[in-house]
Symmetry: C2
């Protein structure tokens, strides 16, 4: 979810501006971990409403709908670290992606227990475990890293080209 279909950086920028009066851009935080880029990062992600207010990632709605028609789709979110996020994330999915049924949702801690053929994620800690086809969704924190064996995409349009040719 976060960093793939949920644009959490938009919420980081908003919260950082509220705390410090500094309007950061994706360029400003490029190559930095979220915790380095935003000194109050932990306060934000444990706050009520942080995940619920995230905008939908540009282009994700239409393409995820098409993926859902062609593939057996699951939304797997490493949500367990943030207890307040569980209800918010389910509510967010129901609002923005109403075609995704509860049967297709997974909230976990570690993603190493997930068995699938393709994983789209922005975090190496999730992709590195996975033995199937791994797609690294570019986000500021991973932008300067070597993508290694993972296929890097810059946008949902790139995902469409790969998975819906």
């Amino acid at each position: 979810m976060d960093g793939v279909i949920a644009d959490v950086y938009a919420v980081f920028f908003k919260n950082h501006y509220a705390d410090f009066g500094e309007l950061l851009s994706a360029e400003d935080v490029c190559g930095k971990k979220e915790s380095e880029a935003f000194p109050n990062c932990r306060k934000y992600v444990f706050s009520n409403g942080f995940f619920r207010q995230a905008p939908v990632m540009a282009g994700s709605e239409a393409i995820l709908k098409k993926l859902n028609d062609k593939y057996k789709l699951f939304i797997v979110s490493a949500a367990m670290e943030f207890p307040q996020s569980l209800a918010e994330k389910q509510s967010w999915l129901n609002e923005h992606f109403p075609f995704i049924r509860w049967e297709q949702m997974v909230f976990c801690g570690s993603k190493e227990i997930i068995n699938a053929d393709i994983m789209i994620d922005d975090q190496f800690r999730n992709l590195d475990y996975f033995t199937g086809h791994t797609i690294l969704f570019t986000q500021p924190h991973n932008k300067l890293a070597e993508n290694g064996r993972h296929q890097r995409v810059e946008s949902w349009s790139d995902i469409e080209k790969i998975l819906l040719p």
Copy 2:
């Protein structure tokens, strides 16, 4: 969780008694689906507090602790159907099984996405997908069913004998 470490039948019996003044036992509902045994079943499982108040299954605490020391343990609960249950289930686990970290918790819809070596469950719909070692935990709803390829256990003591010989 439900029917393996969380004794949801205890809560069903209590709610059914409150609604109908009828005190049922495990024998009374043996061989019946939960929805057949308890006419108001759906009302109960969608109620706030239903999952939070479930007693811990007899014997599960000490043995799960030992399993956690020997195995890489995950608690996988098909919780997504019941949105109100997500926070309750995490809170319940934190209270009763404090040695289980958030990294080990998975709340899903379908368990077919789960990759592991051993699954302990009371529902055929979860075990039948699973290609590893499957252990069927006896509960009233499955007690009269053929266990098929699954290894049936009657108690946590049985699990201890199999997995902690």
